[in-house]
């Protein structure tokens, strides 16, 4: 069962515009969510995270929004830059009291292309 889903395999946006990447999850025990970025031939690198006690976390051009009732989170990149072109993975964990405690469950990834 896919507990974390990224339903859009790819996204293409123009430089300077907003990129919105979406992620859905099914397990209500998840209480911590992360976004990772991956370039070819490199390992995933941490981008931004959000705890379930918040609904928004911002870091520079990157903002993550969490809607717990809908079990949905999104990553906004504003403005988008060509260097942002990469695969973005959503991940979730449950820090306490769950079989998922201590591990990250990843979505399938969304490939973002930012065109100059």
């Amino acid at each position: 069962d896919q507990q974390v889903k990224q339903n859009s395999p790819s996204l293409s946006v123009q430089e300077g515009r907003i990129s919105i990447l979406n992620c859905d999850y099914t397990n209500s025990m998840f209480d911590y969510f992360l976004w990772y970025k991956k370039y070819p031939a490199e390992g995933p690198t941490f981008l931004i995270s959000i705890s379930s006690i918040k609904d928004k976390n911002e870091d520079g051009r990157f903002t993550v929004f969490l809607n717990k009732s809908a079990k949905h989170l999104s990553l906004h990149i504003v403005p988008s830059q060509p260097g942002d072109s990469a695969v973005y993975f959503c991940a979730a964990s449950a820090r306490f009291g769950s079989s998922n405690t201590g591990k990250l469950i990843f979505g399938q990834g969304t490939t973002l292309q930012v065109k100059p």
């Binding site: 941490f46 405690t101 990843f106």
Partner: protein, 117 residues
């Protein structure tokens, strides 16, 4: 400060063979997790080691085994290789994800690309 290092970066094996992948965690980290990333998929959790013991395991057969050494480095072993084991194997290190200093963030190495022919 060296990050997570993995070796080898690429390797080719044939069906039925055995492979060992190695990982050195980021300095100060005590927990190592291994993930398998098949083409076009997200990383899938294999197992996690803390204090030299396997603490968590994903849905992988017993052909997949591991070890953590006193210096926190780790090995992933896969026996009786199948074609379907071809993937990028990622090692990630962190502080104890259940501990008080946990941030939930994993630091990944560049991975070991395994091709099984």
């Amino acid at each position: 400060d060296a990050g997570v290092t993995q070796s080898p970066t690429h390797l080719i094996k044939t069906r039925g063979q055995q492979v060992t992948l190695r990982c050195s965690p980021k300095s100060g980290h005590d927990t190592v997790s291994w993930y398998q990333q098949a083409l076009g998929q997200g990383p899938q959790f294999i197992f996690q080691y803390y204090e030299e013991e396997e603490r968590q395991r994903g849905n992988f057969p017993d052909r997949f085994s591991g070890h953590q050494f006193p210096n926190y480095s780790s090995e992933l072993n896969v026996n009786a290789l199948l074609l379907g084991d071809s993937a990028l194997y990622l090692c990630a290190s962190s502080l104890d994800l259940r501990g008080p200093r946990a941030t939930g963030e994993l630091f990944f190495g560049e991975g070991s690309r395994l091709t099984v022919l």
